[in-house]
Structures are given as C-alpha cells and as structure tokens.
C-alpha cells in the first residue's frame, strides 16, 4: 500500500512538473503602480544586517549626495520603490520594464544568455539583468549595478559586488508581489529581502496616462542642496551569528 502511494505520488509530481514545463508563464504585461518606499529599513522592519563597513557608510551618509539629486538614474530596485507607474512589456525572449520615473528602462533577457564575462568592467546604473521562470514566478538576476546608485532615498548604499535577485509573482489579476534580495558582502553580513506589492495601473484613462519625467528639464534643486548627515548617532550592532 505504502509503495502504491509513493508511486502515485511520484507520478502525480511528474505530471504536474511536466505540465508546468509546457504551460505558458503568466502574463505580467501591463501598467503597474508601486508603493513608495523611501527607506528600505521601514519595509524590512529594522536596519539591514550591515558589515562594519556598511554600518559606517550608513552612519556617515550625506543625503545631499543622493545621485538622483543630480538626475542620475535611480538603479534597478530603487526605481521599483519610487512612486511612479511603470509598464511591463513581456515577450518570450525579453521582458522590458519601462518607467515613467526618469523615462528610463530595464531589459531582462529571457533567452538563456548569461551575464557578459566582462560586465563588471562596464557597470550600468540600472545593472545587467537576466531572467527565468521558476514555475509562475519570474526570477531576475541583476549584476554590474553602478555603485553610485543608492538603494533608497534614505541613503542605503551598496558596492559594485551587489547581486540583486528579484522575484515577480502574480497574486491576482491585478497584483504582482515583488521580492528584492540584496546580496552584497561588502555592505551586508548576509543577504536580506523586502517584499512590495504592485497594483494594476489603468493608464487607458487620460488622467492616468504615463506622463513626462525628464529629470534634467528644470532641476533647480541641485544648487540649493546643503550637507545633511542624519545618521551620525547610529550605533553599529553586529548580528550574533
């Protein structure tokens, strides 16, 4: 009896996994709005698990030096925590993310290619992304993220070694759950993750269409920025592991 149960279970598993392999991935296509998350520590419920170096950078960060203050691109994850809608264009071999914020884009290669061997020598503010489907979850692997980008408005920074893994999963027709995992041994003692939910954005209505955001159009702020170090009292407490 026990053997029979095992055989049936194994068969069921084989059938379901073969069905999964042949089934079409879910469509993430459409326009989406994202919850504004200016401080990732709020989403995490605590400060990220810093290394001593990461903690010192957080303690001394000067928010007047935020790269987006001079209209540099926000980076691949921060753009998905900024309060502007974006479009997902989904094709079999590529998924493109088109952002209102800074009129910028990300290309996620889905054709099985690897990151280029010399990619670390040519970092991009938005990184280099390759993706794959794990069941109904889109898993995106991003490296070569220019270290000048910040992870949020609060001033969490990273090194060139940042390895970003994102998981996009439909949790209803009009919702995508997005989990971003930050793995950067220079800044963080271990990988850590935040999860946000994107909701469908109906840009067919005139008032909700994607609108212009060319940051350099009239960036008067830059001449008024003054040094601002809000975390100088931060005390580093390494995790006991």
């Amino acid at each position: 009896m026990r053997v029979l149960v095992s055989v049936v279970a194994a068969l069921a598993l084989a059938i379901s996994s073969s069905a999964q392999n042949t089934s079409k991935p879910p469509s993430l296509a459409g326009s989406w709005r994202v919850p504004y998350t200016p401080n990732l520590a709020d989403a995490l419920g605590q400060q990220p698990p810093y290394t001593a170096h990461g903690a010192e950078r957080w303690r001394t960060v000067d928010t007047a030096k935020d790269p987006t203050g001079t209209c540099l691109p926000p980076g691949p994850s921060r753009v998905l925590t900024s309060p502007f809608p974006f479009i997902i264009v989904q094709q079999e071999n590529m998924i493109a993310l088109l952002f209102e914020y800074q009129t910028i884009w990300r290309a996620i290669y889905m054709d099985g290619r690897k990151h280029p061997a010399d990619i670390a020598d040519y970092p991009d503010f938005m990184g280099h992304s390759i993706g794959r489907w794990e069941g109904d979850t889109l898993v995106v692997d991003t490296v070569a993220i220019n270290e000048r980008t910040w992870l949020d408005t609060a001033g969490h920074e990273h090194s060139p070694k940042l390895h970003l893994t994102e998981r996009f999963r439909k949790v209803g027709e009009d919702k995508i759950e997005w989990t971003a995992t930050f793995d950067d041994p220079v800044f963080f003692a271990r990988p850590w993750s935040i999860t946000r939910t994107f909701t469908r954005f109906d840009d067919s209505k005139d008032q909700d269409r994607i609108l212009p955001y060319t940051c350099t159009e009239n960036n008067r702020d830059v001449q008024h920025l003054v040094p601002n170090q809000p975390n100088l009292n931060y005390k580093y407490q390494p995790e006991n592991r």
Partner: protein, 133 residues
C-alpha cells in the same frame, strides 16, 4: 539679517505637521528645514510646470513695500496631475498664500505645504517633501 527684513511683512508660523509625503527625488532635509515653517503672501509671477518638481515664483511685499521674489517648490508634475491639478491651476497674477518650509541655504526659496488662492481654494496641496524621515 536679510531674512529678518523680508520676514517683516510675512506671517511666520510655528511648527507645521509633516505634509503627506509626495516625493522628493532626493532627501527633503538636504534642501529644506522642517523646523523653519514660513507663510508667504503675494502675487504669482511665473509658473514652471516642469520636472523633476514644479517651481513657481511669487512677489512678496514687506512692511516697507519692498518687493522680493520668492521661489516656491512643489511636487512632480505627474503626481500633481494625478491629484487633479493642471498646468493652469495656478496662473500668473493669482494672489496666493503659501505655507511651507524655508530652504536651508538662506535663499528666497521655500517648499510648499499648501497654496491657497484669494477665494480660499487650495491648489496643488502637495510638497516634494517625500523624505525618508
């Protein structure tokens, strides 16, 4: 000293509760002082409905009738648009009262919390103060 002079004809107000964060494409506190609330009354001279944040300019008269042109910063145009505001919601010549926060660098610049027209209608009603703290 200059600030004091200008503030002569301006109602300065106490601490104002934090505005609903709309979005600063950088830290609010690197540009404005949330402990320095200010109220300005004047006439709109120019509106820049442009990215990353709108700016408009107001002539403010002090007690000795000296006019100073202030720059006022607001939210991103797309955010304002989605909140129902339009490029002509605020026009040159409009008499306005602005509650906001002073720039830290001492210039005649403030970030708006609210902008109220002469008829009491509030326009824009959103600052760029989407700071992390």
């Amino acid at each position: 000293m200059i600030t004091k002079l200008i503030l002569g004809g301006i109602v300065s107000i106490g601490l104002v509760a934090a505005a609903v964060p709309v979005f600063g494409h950088h830290s609010f506190a690197a540009q404005y002082d949330r402990t320095k609330a200010i109220a300005l009354k004047g006439t709109v001279t120019k509106v820049e409905w442009m990215n990353p944040h709108i700016y408009f300019y107001v002539d403010v008269k002090d007690d000795s009738n000296r006019v100073t042109n202030w720059a006022i910063e607001g939210g991103a145009p797309s955010m304002l648009y989605r909140n129902g505001w339009r490029i002509d919601s605020l026009k040159v010549g409009d008499k306005v009262t602005i509650d906001g926060w002073l720039a830290k660098d001492g210039s005649n610049l403030a970030n708006m919390r609210t902008v109220t027209l002469a008829d009491g209608k509030t326009v824009f009603g959103a600052s760029s103060g989407g700071d992390a703290r």
